[in-house]
């Protein structure tokens, strides 16, 4: 049984570029780091059946999702020699052009960060119970598929 409480990965609304810049700045004190790799998921204004996606509204099974994020994080630290790792995912409405997923890995040397980042992002997409509702400009919607 998992007893430790996983960190909360979710943030209400879009993830701002200022928040991302600040996260990068915080790593300047960690002078053993030689390479950072960052993935950002951005909401696309897809055209589906002639209608344009204006936003995605994210919901999640939060307790299970935070546990999954925690498992993904722990497994990645086991698998890859990383100095640190941060994951943030939006909940609620994120407009087209805004950022809804921010994954940030850092390591002494670069070779490991490429593989680690891809692995973590793919794990998130496949295994974390988050649900995106694509809202069209006419306020109809459809459920996003990854």
């Amino acid at each position: 049984m998992e007893t430790r409480t996983p960190k909360n990965v979710f943030k209400q609304g879009a993830i701002s570029s200022g928040f991302i810049g600040d996260s990068i700045a915080k790593h300047q004190a960690k002078t053993s780091i030689g390479a950072h790799n960052i993935f950002l998921g951005q909401v696309r204004a897809d055209v589906i059946g002639g209608k344009i996606v204006s936003a995605i509204e994210f919901t999640a099974y939060e307790a299970m999702a935070n546990q999954k994020f925690d498992e993904i994080r722990e497994a990645a630290f086991q698998k890859f020699e990383l100095t640190c790792m941060h994951i943030f995912h939006s909940l609620g409405t994120v407009k087209a052009g805004e950022i809804c997923l921010f994954v940030f890995v850092s390591a002494p040397r670069r070779k490991v960060v490429y593989k680690a980042l891809e692995h973590i992002v793919e794990e998130i997409k496949a295994n974390v119970p988050v649900f995106g509702k694509e809202i069209f400009e006419d306020e109809t919607h459809q459920w996003k598929k990854n």
């Binding site: 994210f58 809804c100 998130i124 997409k125 119970p129 649900f131 995106g132 996003k144």
Partner: protein
């Protein structure tokens, strides 16, 4: 047994609620699903996975009384 059930995404649209507690006499997930399919016939046309106590389970899993969740395809990020 009283079983708390959570619904998400498209599934919550079909059930028109995000959670409820169901009184139920069966022992397995597949028996619970039969009950839910009767209550919400539209569920049959939609794929979902089932979690018990925040972990995915198969339909042959025994119910423990802990929280069940019906999860449509994940689409995070």
């Amino acid at each position: 047994m009283r079983i708390p059930i959570k619904y998400f995404g498209l599934i919550a649209e079909i059930t028109k609620c995000q959670e409820e507690t169901i009184s139920f006499s069966g022992s397995f997930i597949f028996e619970l699903l039969e009950t839910l399919h009767s209550k919400y016939p539209e569920l049959k046309n939609n794929g979902f996975q089932v979690a018990q106590d925040r972990a995915l389970v198969t339909v042959e899993t025994r119910l423990t009384g802990e929280e069940i969740a019906l999860l449509p395809p994940f689409s995070g990020g």
